[in-house]
């Protein structure tokens, strides 16, 4: 509408000053294009020519909690395997006051590298109606070979949050291999037939992880030099973090400590 008055006004102008130019008009709004192409970060295999390593131990302070007794009456064949009583493995404090079954891994600092998945599978055995190891670390996509060394039938039932859940029964002696494609700390593994059976599988994107042994120590080798965040995880006591710097061809030693 306004255009009409503008038009007439311009006409008036041209009249007054004798002569005039083109009159106003509408042009369809052009959408200016923004060339936005998201660039992908270049990831490559790390250079291990002068790699360093981390060693350390996880100590435990305070009173070691009493572990619940596991009654395997339902599965005599297993009960025989262990002479004497069996206790839950939620918290295992070694004699030297260190904590067993703690998972250690490099949480941050490895993003710029890419790693290939190892071809040889990790092993998760079911022996004496217990998962061994109790805490298992694998790399994303790495095979996990499940063994059943018992006479009894088991069923392996991981309850992941980021991966797909599955539940497969396994007769004595059978074995199978599965893998988890996505990072997850950690996937609890159950056995519906034997409610006491419990294991944790940590799935990480790189080979730099470890689990504390009977002397509560751990070791992570040939790491590319750099700054890293190292995290420890325990099923009962949760996680802790530390920053470390790996210098070329050197070894770091760090201490973690949980208190009960």
């Amino acid at each position: 509408m306004a255009k009409l008055y503008i038009g007439l006004f311009l006409l008036g102008l041209t009249v007054a000053c004798g002569g005039g130019g083109e009159t106003a008009s509408e042009v369809a709004p052009e959408a200016e294009s923004i060339a936005a192409t998201p660039e992908t970060p270049q990831s490559s295999a790390p250079d291990l020519s002068q790699s360093g390593s981390v060693t350390g131990r996880v100590s435990f302070e305070g009173e070691a909690p009493k572990m619940a007794r596991i009654r395997m009456g339902a599965e005599p064949s297993c009960e025989e395997k262990h002479g004497g009583p069996i206790y839950s493995q939620d918290v295992v404090v070694n004699d030297n006051g260190t904590l067993k079954n703690v998972f250690i891994w490099i949480k941050e600092g490895m993003d710029q590298y890419s790693f290939e998945t190892p071809s040889d599978p990790a092993v998760l055995d079911q022996d004496g109606c217990l998962y061994t190891p109790h805490v298992l670390g694998v790399q994303m996509g790495q095979g996990i070979q499940m063994l059943n060394s018992d006479q009894a039938t088991h069923n392996i039932h991981p309850v992941p949050a980021n991966n797909r859940e599955w539940n497969i029964s396994q007769a004595a002696g059978q074995e199978m291999t599965r893998s988890f494609p996505r990072q997850e700390i950690t996937i609890p593994v159950k056995c519906n037939i034997h409610p006491w059976m419990k294991s944790y599988i940590a799935v990480v994107p790189h080979p730099y992880f470890s689990v504390t042994s009977d002397d509560g120590t751990f070791e992570i080798n040939n790491m590319p030099p750099g700054d890293y965040t190292i995290e420890v995880w325990h099923e009962t006591y949760g996680t802790q973090e530390q920053q470390i710097k790996i210098d070329p061809n050197s070894s770091q030693n760090i201490e973690f400590s949980y208190s009960g």
């Binding site: 509408m1 306004a2 255009k3 009409l4 008055y5 503008i6 038009g7 006409l11 009159t23």
Partner: protein
């Protein structure tokens, strides 16, 4: 001052012609008068100066004796017409490019727009409805207007005024027309467009057209004002007298106009009775419109005459 509102009205595609009207009519009136007066002056001089009259008969100022007495239609007239044609085309083209036909949503019988206004050329009539019975404003008046226009040639008794712009020979006719057209018609169109808002209420230009506006406005019939409520026929009689009174007064005034001065009287001499009466009737009726408008707007009079059959 609500400019947004004012712009909204002025910008309504329907109202463009009216906005144009408000500019163009006064201009052309002025232009016409300018020429008419010039001619009249010339004629006055010619009448005094016989010599000049012989040599010069182009009823147009200015002039020189050596100029031709006549000029040809082609090119002198046609080129002007041609020029005007171009100008008008340009205007129409710009108009039609920039403005689409003012279409609205599908009609919804349960929802009448408010204010709902007639197209611009009928707004005058619609405005009349405020002051008169629908029957009078909608039927009688328009008919009279048309008939009146038709009648004009038959009551025009002065051939000297024909064929050129003159005011002197046409004072009465022109003034009457200007009154009828400018005052009665245009003003009412203007009111209908710019003044009448929601509920056909009176909003001064620039006032916001508020749909929730409430005003106290009760219109009473004349007899109510006079305090006569004792039913017919008295009410009718009161009205009749009032109307009669009006006719008498304005008839007399009109007559005074018709015989205003020497010139008028000359014309009056030539009139037959029929012509005289016709003229009288139309004029009296015409006066009735502004009178009634004033009565309504100033004194809130609804009807002057109330009868079982019609109201005035």
């Amino acid at each position: 001052m609500d400019w947004a509102q004012l712009w909204e009205i002025a910008a309504k595609p329907d109202n463009i012609p009216i906005v144009a009207l408000l500019v163009l009519i006064p201009f052309f009136t002025w232009y016409g008068f300018r020429q008419a007066l010039a001619n009249d002056r010339l004629i006055a001089r010619l009448e005094n100066d016989k010599e000049l009259a012989k040599t010069h008969n182009r009823k147009l100022e200015p002039y020189r004796e050596e100029w031709d007495q006549k000029v040809y239609v082609w090119p002198y007239l046609l080129r002007v017409e041609f020029f005007v044609a171009i100008v008008v085309t340009v205007i129409l083209m710009i108009w039609s490019i920039t403005l689409n036909a003012p279409l609205e949503e599908p009609a919804n019988p349960n929802l009448t727009m408010n204010p709902s206004k007639a197209p611009w050329y009928f707004l005058g009539l619609q405005e009349m409805l405020v002051y008169f019975d629908p029957w009078i404003a909608g039927v009688l008046m328009p008919t009279l207007i048309i008939v009146g226009l038709m009648v004009i040639p038959y009551i025009d008794l002065n051939p000297l005024g024909n064929g050129y712009y003159t005011f002197r020979q046409r004072k009465f006719a022109i003034l009457t027309f200007l009154f009828g057209f400018m005052v009665l018609w245009l003003v009412m169109v203007f009111i209908g467009t710019f003044i009448r808002g929601p509920g056909w209420m009176w909003f001064w230009p620039g006032a916001t057209w508020d749909h929730h506006r409430l005003i106290f406005e009760t219109n009473r019939d004349l007899h109510e004002i006079l305090g006569i409520t004792s039913g017919q026929p008295w009410i009718g009689l009161v009205g009749a007298t009032a109307v009669g009174l009006y006719v008498a007064v304005f008839g007399w005034l009109t007559h005074k106009l018709i015989v205003w001065n020497e010139f008028n009287r000359k014309i009056y001499e030539r009139m037959t009775l029929v012509q005289y009466l016709t003229l009288q009737t139309f004029l009296v009726v015409m006066w009735a419109l502004p009178v009634k408008i004033l009565l309504r707007l100033l004194f809130r009079v609804k009807y002057v005459m109330v009868t079982p059959w019609f109201n005035i």
